[in-house]
Amino acid sequence: MQKEIIVTGFGGQGIILAGRILGTAASLGDNKESTLVQAYGPESRGGACNAQVIISDTPIHYPYVKIPHILVAMSQAGYDKFSGLLQEDSILLTDQDLVPTTNAPCAHYEIAATRMAESLGHKMMANIIMIGFFTAITEAVSKNAALETVNRSVPKGTEEKNQKAFNKGFDYGLSTLKGKEKRAAGMTGAIAQ
């Protein structure tokens, strides 16, 4: 099983770090194979930047993503650039405030990651919230592996805050899945309709 992932957004949002955490979590934490191809050049300095991650049970022969199974978009420009590649069975994760216009052919999950990060006190942690959300929704990496990698990848002294951010995104992901399930079962409210 090979999972091809594109994380995209503005340069400076921590897109590359997010990609690296996902890949590291898969390889060091979950003992799988993983690769990371990161955007260099002008994109990573403010444009539509991206990180391409492949996670696989078997050795990976080619590190570039051709068709993403999972697209994580944290900016409209990033979404526009890669949304054409989405297939019906892909999964799209977006920051709902930063990607207002979507028209995806596949399952789509939204989270207000940047707003949540702001309410936690640091806008910078939006990417960690997104990793938590990603982990809950896609299960491409295990929670423990992701959380440990987050701990090892963030600046010393900020581990606790980042853990909190991760859990916030993770819980939101679980709630989103639960809500989706409930809605599908026709149980939207607390009082039976």
């Binding site: 819980d171 939101y172 989103t176 639960k178 809500g179 409210g189 607390a190 009082i191």
Partner: protein, 532 residues
């Protein structure tokens, strides 16, 4: 015949008493167990008296009146039937069984039928055996009730540091009772305690009418914990047989005192809506509290449905996939016993509760009643009753779950305001808790009342003690404050606030002026929460 069996017979003076006289004249064998109380009309035997008979040790109570249409006063029989039914329903809930309370009518010439009735009733009661209610022995009469034991009074003064009172009067200028004009003074009580004048009738009246709402403690610059002090002072009064003025004829006090009987096994939650999901093996217990008793009792006068709050709580737990355990033999928490000086009964209730609840192996108890919350969370441990699980207010649970995200609230087109519960907002210092949830709701507008949060006004009464015209004046004032905000919906957080404010709305001279829709915060959340 079992000599222990005791049947109280309330017998109407007019019709059936003649039949009873004939039985006596004919030297018929009226069972010894029957203790007859001759009364002017069964309609005047209220529900409090019926329940008190059981609370004081009766095994069966028979109300015998006149057939409908033959009542001398017209409405006696239907009233008596209603009272018997209400009390019967409550006896069922308490696990005593309504078959122990029977209403019947006899004409003066039906002496044989009356005798047969009494014998059958006695037979039935003997088959049922004695009730599970046991009574604690009465306090011994003090040598001189006017002279309260000096050392106990000074112990009180020391414990609550009454000497710290500076007589500044901030309490009086905050006290809602004093502000509606009642001759009531918190510092007056403090002075009386120091001067050993607790026997004075006006001091006694004041001690029994205190709301224990905690507003004076909030304002006191010397931090004299007045509510706790009053609580202890009432206990001291009770020990010296100085009784408070129990509201509602003492019905609710009889009910709560009966809960101190070890063998009593209440029979709760028989009417849960089918769709609610309950799991008897869950490690989360939902503790409902006394709402169903209140509903039955108060439905005679006002339109209350506080049991709905319990069902809505369970709905919300289910919404978040918690299928709680319920306790069929749930007792009351004892809050009102403690706060009306009945510390002995409270301790019994607490001991029984702790024993039962600790044996369940649960990890969490969730409750939505602010009084149950405070009593289990704080009072029990303070008085040495340790629980082996965590006590959580439903609002805490909801706030945590909602904060995870992916739920939203449907908007509703109403202006709302909020009535604080004194226990939750002041005594437990959690005024922010309901407000976090209120901020998530999507009403038309939300406006706080003139007095809100820590400075909010009490609903008029605590612990069913000392309700009078000043309580009513307070309730009217509070409802006017609510109306002032332009609110169409008053959100409450305690079933008693609902009952008390609803009561004031019955005022026939102020109809429109005071009418406002009321809903508990739990119900509002249950109605508007949805998955995103």
């Amino acid at each position: 015949m079992n000599k222990q069996t005791k049947i109280i017979l309330f017998l109407c003076n007019w019709g059936p008493h003649a039949a009873y006289l004939s039985l006596q004249d004919e030297k018929q064998n009226i069972p010894e167990a029957v203790h007859m109380v001759r009364i002017p009309c069964t309609g005047r035997v209220d529900r409090a008296l019926l329940l008190r008979a059981f609370a004081k040790g009766a095994d069966g109570v028979a109300m015998i009146g006149c057939s409908p249409g033959t009542c001398r006063y017209g409405s006696g029989t239907p009233t008596a039937i209603r009272n018997t039914q209400d009390t019967g329903t409550i006896l069922d809930l308490m696990g005593i069984g309504q078959e122990r309370l029977r209403f019947a009518t006899f004409l003066p010439e039906q002496s044989e039928e009356l005798l047969e009735f009494l014998q059958t009733f006695l037979h039935d009661i003997q088959k049922l055996g004695p009730t599970a209610i046991t009574t604690l022995p009465d306090n011994p009469l003090p040598a001189n009730p006017l002279n309260l034991p000096r050392e106990e009074v000074s112990a009180l003064v020391n414990t609550y540091d009454i000497h710290a009172c500076q007589d500044c009067g901030k309490c009086s200028s905050a006290c809602p009772l004093a502000l509606v004009g009642k001759p009531f003074s918190a510092r007056g009580i403090a002075t009386a305690v120091i001067n050993n004048e607790l026997y004075k009738t006006n001091v006694q009246e004041n001690v029994w009418s205190c709301l224990t709402c905690g507003l004076c403690y909030e304002r006191c610059p010397s931090a004299v914990n007045f509510p706790a002090f009053i609580k202890e002072l009432r206990y001291l009064y009770q020990k010296n047989t100085i009784q408070g003025n129990e509201a509602h004829g003492g019905f609710l006090h009889s009910l709560m005192r009966s809960m101190a009987s070890p063998d009593l096994t209440p029979n709760r939650y028989q009417n849960i809506p089918e769709k609610l999901k309950i799991d008897p093996d869950s490690n989360i217990l939902f503790y409902g509290g006394c709402a169903p008793y209140f509903d039955i009792f108060f439905s005679k006068h006002i339109d209350v449905n506080t049991e709905k709050i319990l069902f809505d709580s369970i709905r919300l737990l289910n919404f978040f996939d918690v299928h709680p355990r319920l306790l069929g033999d749930e007792r009351c928490c004892g809050h009102d016993l403690l706060w009306s000086g009945e510390q002995r009964h409270f301790k019994e209730v607490a001991r029984l509760n702790v024993e039962r609840l600790n044996s369940l192996g649960i990890e969490t108890m969730i409750t939505t009643c602010p009084e149950c919350y405070m009593t289990f969370k704080t009072t029990y441990p303070d008085m040495g009753f340790q629980l082996n699980f965590e006590v959580v207010h439903l609002y805490d649970f909801l706030e945590k779950e909602i904060d995870r995200g992916a739920v939203e609230f449907t908007s509703f087109d109403k202006a709302v305001t909020f009535q604080d519960s004194c226990r939750l907002c002041r005594l437990e210092d959690r005024q922010e808790l309901p407000r976090q949830l209120l901020a998530r709701l999507q009403p038309n507008t939300f406006t706080e009342m003139r007095e809100s949060g820590k400075g909010s006004m009490c609903c008029g009464n605590t612990a069913w003690t000392g309700c009078d015209s000043y309580s009513k004046a307070m309730q009217v004032k509070r409802l006017q404050q609510a109306k002032e905000t332009g609110a169409e919906l008053l959100i409450t957080s305690c079933p008693k606030c609902q009952i008390h404010l609803q009561c004031a709305m019955q005022d026939p001279f102020r109809e429109e002026e005071l009418q406002i829709e009321m809903l508990d915060l739990t119900s509002v959340i249950a109605q508007t929460i949805t998955w995103k």
